[in-house]
Symmetry: C2
Subunit: 301 residues, 2 copies
Amino acid sequence: MNWPKSVTIKEVGPRDGLQNEKLILSTSDKIAWIDRLSYTGLTYLEITSFVHPKWIPQLADAVEVAQNINRNPSVTYAALVPNMKGLESALSCSVDEVSVFISASETHNKQNINKTISETFPILQEVIAAAINEGKTVRGYISTVFGCPYEGDVDYNQAFRICEKLFTMGISEISLGDTIGVASPRQVEDFLNQALKLYQPQSFAMHFHDTRGMALANIVKALDYGISTFDSSLGGLGGCPYAPGASGNVATDDLVHMFEKMNIHTGVNEGALVDSALFVQKKINKPLPSHRMAMYSHSKG
Amino acid sequence: MNWPKSVTIKEVGPRDGLQNEKLILSTSDKIAWIDRLSYTGLTYLEITSFVHPKWIPQLADAVEVAQNINRNPSVTYAALVPNMKGLESALSCSVDEVSVFISASETHNKQNINKTISETFPILQEVIAAAINEGKTVRGYISTVFGCPYEGDVDYNQAFRICEKLFTMGISEISLGDTIGVASPRQVEDFLNQALKLYQPQSFAMHFHDTRGMALANIVKALDYGISTFDSSLGGLGGCPYAPGASGNVATDDLVHMFEKMNIHTGVNEGALVDSALFVQKKINKPLPSHRMAMYSHSKG
């Protein structure tokens, strides 16, 4: 296979991972964790979400976190914003990039933000234009691309229609989300066969959850198609075998390990990554579900 | 991808799974479990190993198990045999097929059976000839093909040299084992690129452990090369996140789920598979580590 020589891993643990953890971490612990992540070799950290605290209590301290981390100039610090109010907060904290989100399925979008997909576009347009005007890049998440908890299969044309809108609005990259971890390598292949007739592989990141154990298989299939940017969460934070059935992001440490075994460069220091995982594992007070962390815990008795 | 339309899954849970479980199952529980497995649609069950009880106390009741299961005529019942004594026991129980084993790495072979690879060949030759003489087919396992716990990387030529010997002796299929779960999709690709210059994909089964989470990714890569037979263990028996670091076979239920999602026919009834997994989970008295079982447990509260 003519795989990319290097990949970019976008760490979403402090946002997508933490928002699925019940135990609320202290602001100082979040800052200390992100500061550790900043020196693992990861070049992109999604540090929080500027949503209303009633939506995601875990991330109610978004401003404090974003203002008090120590920035490594080699790292892009990004945050999720749902609307203009969120964008204003994010800009006030000088994040490097903002992310907006929308679902490929109508029902999921409605359940998530109480708006239809069509009603969501003008909101995103305003946010994206304002962010670009402030010199920021904007990333777009499309959720439920490969399946919806309410609708089941989702027509890929839904995602393509949204891609077209978002790219026209000035989005720099779209992260294609398998929100409920149902995608199989066949679906990834079918999707990318169609998508790459419309866009370059560099236009996309893939965002897999490992609910059914297929995330790494899907990532390798995406690699086959030249995709080289992947979202993940350190240790698989946000999903855990000790809370059976929980659906977590694919684990950064397992992903880095696989790429390095495949001679695909990640730039990440595995030792520093484990240190950073051990730190957050102690704070959430339960074992992280990644294979790498399970092996590490075992080797230490 | 031009994937096979159907695959054969060889269930090794009653042998490879159980032998890595500390809790000794009663003979009647093993029989009851195998009887359930016989009606899941699986067509191949490796039911035990006829080794000396001091090696694997869990399988000391090999004869009783093999003699007392209810045979489904659609299922091939196989058992591992290390030598002529084991073969005689297996034949006395009328198993359909026997398996022999050898390691690709000298040190692992020596640690495992206290013989060099060259010293092992005459033993296998005698067993294979005698089994074939009794009308049995013989399967060969090669362990540590992708890495050895003592030697690290193993030269693929070691495996090819053993393949040549075993096929010449009359082996019907070789199961290529990633005994310690280190293989990456890159290694699978490199290995198969070389191996399939020498043999047909139908000559091989792949036997992955999921220690580092790469088993399903490796299996999809093997599928890309036309391999269509895979070993697995129901529920991931023999490895468990509740015993961190344990190295288990890839889980049959996760594998079946993935194949079915990929429109690749397995012939397995997923409901019957879950029932059979729940049965053995209760007997080993701890949660099985597969993703499918974690989701099932969760959905049942």
